[in-house]
Amino acid sequence: MSDQNRENLRELVEKFFDARQAESCLEDFQKAEQILQEHPAPQPNEMLLANIKAEIARRLPVKRAEITRHRAWELAGMAAAIAIVAFLGVQLSHHPARQHTLRASLWPTAVWESNNLAADDADLAVFTAEIEQVRSEVVALESGQETVEPDSAVTDLEMQLVEISSDFWKG
């Protein structure tokens, strides 16, 4: 029985029984197999086998049609899935929200790559101009070109600087 069943029966039996029990077990297997072989079951008659083969042949066209239908459905399903994925891909790539997102994602890069930050921010440009104006007034005062009272002029400049600084940090 061990050969026809493609296994080493002794090795298997010895895993579960001690040496003495294993020998007895193997003998039981061998004797019982011998009994079964000496008393073969009846064989199917030729007529039965011919009928079975005819029945199979009768059913096969139906089966083949089922297989073909099944494959056709599978192919149709795959084609539909590909078409849906392609359609969704095209739709998403042209969707306004996606375009907006793309622009938004590019914007910081443009800002960080700019060499003229003052031009990028209008407020910053105004503040820069005012600082420049104050600086030129300070230079004029220092050179004595200004006609107004020096004390009041310095006070005005300080006030303007405080105001500018305050506005700047408020944003």
């Binding site: 069943n5 077990c25 019982a32 039965l48 086998l49 083969k53 029945e55 096969l60 297989i67």
Partner: protein, 178 residues
């Protein structure tokens, strides 16, 4: 008997619906499957029916065979067919108990009712319980390993081995004592 690549080629042909390949499978396995059914039912008529049903099922289910031991797959179907037969027999028996005594006799004693000779082994096999008888026949006719049978029955290999051994030992005693 076709082995390895040859069997794989035949089964591949079956999957494509080739009648010649199905015919080969019938030639290869009909004898063993018939023996399995006959030893379990004791009836040639019932075995004829079950064998026909098995190969019809084979045609229907061959697409679900995904490799591995073909014998294991085929005898799993054979075992299911036998159990379906037992269930329908039980239903008929219950029906017969309620309504027709004559019908009960027909379905409960099929192996003696068709007039065929019951050989000595068949006479002793009926003294074993159904599960043990089936296990022994599965082992002998399917030629599956204990590992494959244990997997098929979803039980530990040691359990399968012990049950088979007890059954074979009892069968041996019955045959030697009779």
């Amino acid at each position: 008997m076709a082995q390895g690549d040859d069997l794989a080629r035949i089964i591949s042909g079956c999957k494509k619906g080739d009648p010649q390949c199905f015919s080969r499978v019938v030639d290869m396995y009909a004898s063993r499957c018939y023996g399995y059914f006959h030893r379990l039912t004791g009836s040639s008529d019932t075995s004829d029916e079950l064998l026909s049903e098995l190969f019809v099922k084979l045609v229907e289910k061959i697409g679900s065979y995904r490799g591995g031991s073909f014998e294991s797959w085929l005898f799993t179907i054979a075992s299911n067919i036998f159990h379906d037969h037992l269930r329908s027999k039980q239903r008929l028996k219950k029906l017969a108990e309620v309504s027709q005594e004559e019908l009960e006799w027909q379905v409960s004693e099929p192996k003696h009712s068709d007039g065929e000779m019951v050989d000595r082994l068949q006479g002793q096999l009926v003294k074993l319980d159904g599960e043990t008888r089936e296990l022994i026949m599965l082992r002998f006719y399917s030629q599956l390993s204990f590992k494959e049978i244990a997997q098929m029955r979803s039980e530990p290999i040691g359990t399968t081995l012990a049950k088979t051994h007890r059954g074979l030992k009892k069968l041996r005693q019955l045959m030697e004592g009779s």
